[in-house]
Amino acid sequence: MTDKRYGANFIHRQSFIELDARERATALIDAGTSRELLGPFERVESPWLAMQGVTPQEDDGCVVMKGKIAGQAAVVIALEGAFQGGSMGEVSGEKMTAALDLAYADSKKGTPTSAVILLETGGVRLQEANLGLAVIAELLGSILLLRKYAPVICLSAGMVGCFGGMSLAAGLASYVVMTREARLGLNGPEVIEQENGIDEFDSSDHALVWAIDGGEQRFATGLIDALVEDDTPQVVEAIRRFVGEGVPTVHRSSQVTLYRSRIGALDTSRQWDPKELRTLWTAKSATEGKQ
């Protein structure tokens, strides 16, 4: 046995990755409290995809579910990675922004409403280019407003991962939760390879990609708050915990000095091994930075 993680329990786990966006959102909300907002039967779909030969979807790949988590008001916004790679279009982006704004309004009125954003996305939907970019800017603003009143929790479970503009959303979140199968990064591996060549980054080298972008590495270097197994009860437990913790004293994205000094202290003239960064940037040192 090379790893004690593997056993009968692992085989019989309820995989969270196997769930689609709607099932994921439902799984996170307290049983019997969920209702979907602007669901597929409202038939609000992207007007831009059909004219480019792409079949649109009637929820535009974004599921908004209102309900309670651990007894507290919450909204879950889940991107469907199977539809256009979870990309952000005009409609899906507006759905997400509006949901965050409603949560902000409720929170301000005295009902703190946490937001859980399920990120399986490569970022902007290329077919909707500027509209996608604009909407991401809007929703980042909405996250900044809401996070003062209630926690914004980002979860990336896999297998798409979270890249591009939406990695900024994860960056602004109060808490980020990942599985070891998930990946988080600004530029996706394929993009880096395409722009800077295979010597810079070989996107087919899974070991390399996960060593840098994978959940384990992101957790070990203190860039996220929890690493969970691909197991629905474990994912649910982590989200409930962060909803309970409420707004953090200091958000990660406010710790500008800490992260600047980390990057500044790095000798970029040599190639670092991702494992070395784990000792250099421990999860612990990030917590200390919050003091």
Binding site: Y6, G7, F10, I11, H206, W210, D230
Partner: protein
Amino acid sequence: MAQQMLGRVTRSWTTRRDEKRRRMQLVQPWMKGPVLPTARVIEALGTLIVSGDSIVLEGDNQKQADFLSRSLVKVDPGKLHDLHLIISSISRPEHLTLFELRIAKKIDFSYAGPQSLRVSQLLEDGKLEIGAIHTYVELYARLLVDLIPNVVLVCAEQADAEGNLYTGPNTEDTPVIVEAAAFHDAIVIVQVNQIVDKLPRVDIPASWVDVVVEADSPFAIEPLFTRDPRHIDELQILIAMMVIRGIYERHQVHSLNHGIGFDTAAIELLLPTFGESLGLRGKICEHWTLNPHPTMIPAIETGWVKSIHCFGSEVGMDKYVAARPDIFFLGRDGSLRSNRVLCQLAGQYAVDGFTGSTLQMDADANSSTVTTGRLAGFGGAPNMGHDPHGRRHSSHAWLDLITENKPIVRGRKLVVQTVETFQKGDVPAFVETLDAVQVGKHAGMPIAPVMIYGDDVSHVVTEEGIAYLYKAEGQEERRRALAAVAGVSPVGRKAVASETEALRKKGVVAYPEDIGVRRLDAKRSLLAARSMEDLVAWSGGLYNPPARFRSW
């Protein structure tokens, strides 16, 4: 007087032996026993091989004598040219560089998967002449008949100072290549990963080996038999459910071979769940001839599998295989001994059935994986996917396919083809004419390169249902049965509802509901493993997937 009439020739009977001795003497000064220093390899190849020779280069389905092939392209083409290359799998770019440099001229091969496009181009440019495209066993059989080599270049994991070889779990094709050479005065040159004092076991004895050279890096090997369960979709699961119920259960298929693909991976992963719920453990799928597919792990761990004989090994499976000696064929050292030729033979003569997927099928169930512009060859599928008429022993499944009531009848091997009615996009899998016909004409092949001939196919399974082709009476009914499961493809659109209804009543066609399979049950949750992580877990951590299959 009698002697005159018989025309007895006066000649030397030792030309091959003399020539081998001559060449070996030229390299003798560089060698220590059978061991050649790594740095001398290019010179030695240029000396031991002579223009016009027939050579075998070990390029198997999986392992590659890549140090020797990379060295051979560095030999001066002015000195060495016009070789006849015999290779089972054209896998590496340098295999074809030999033709661009004109070191080699003619090729006899089985499979050209990754290099198939370049083969077509070189053929068109007149730089490559094809003897024939074979199946694996045919090519190896011809090494003993009319393709007898002068020099063979093979690979092994380890050698000792005397030249005994340990091939490791991926024995694959090495024994037959060396056999054909060593006993007919050809020169046997072996690249090894390592020269050691004591071998774990001897796979090839030193007296069959002439030259051993330590390679600059371990031989290349590809994980060709690994399928990530994450990519198995619900159509494939539905097809797998139908195969289990409508074919394996119905005919009591005890021994079998599976091709490689997501359809068959789905079947393997449904045995411990769907198969178990039908109470089929111990009744079907006990004895296998196939590589250690990682997707077999759950079925092995749940007691479905009694034995597996392998063509080759699979990257990452060595530790797991070594820990299951009751199931696999292992050496005294504890590691797998595979053998492609013997496993192919077993897959032809000893199993009840073969199941494999295909990409294109015509109205007569002829199928092919040939795509326009590529000469991919055959590999081993046609050997598995046919009914060997030389079989004489019977089994329940073999007898169950008898349809005639005559004093003399023969049983039949099950040849099951799974195919989704449409490939990716809107390309129909069922077509009027196989692409292979055009490709064959274009490449000047004497006959169209058909992977599995329709008359060998006993069952076709699509997401629509099963066509029990062996039961069909006459060509017309056979075509109607196939059309009934061919969906809205050009072939399927010829189906007439009333005829299909009659065929279902007669049992020549079955839709899922006819065999107790509920379409809505075809969910990924039915797979015993849904990810590579699950397979690792089932193996108790013994399976170590190659990096490209890891997503953690």
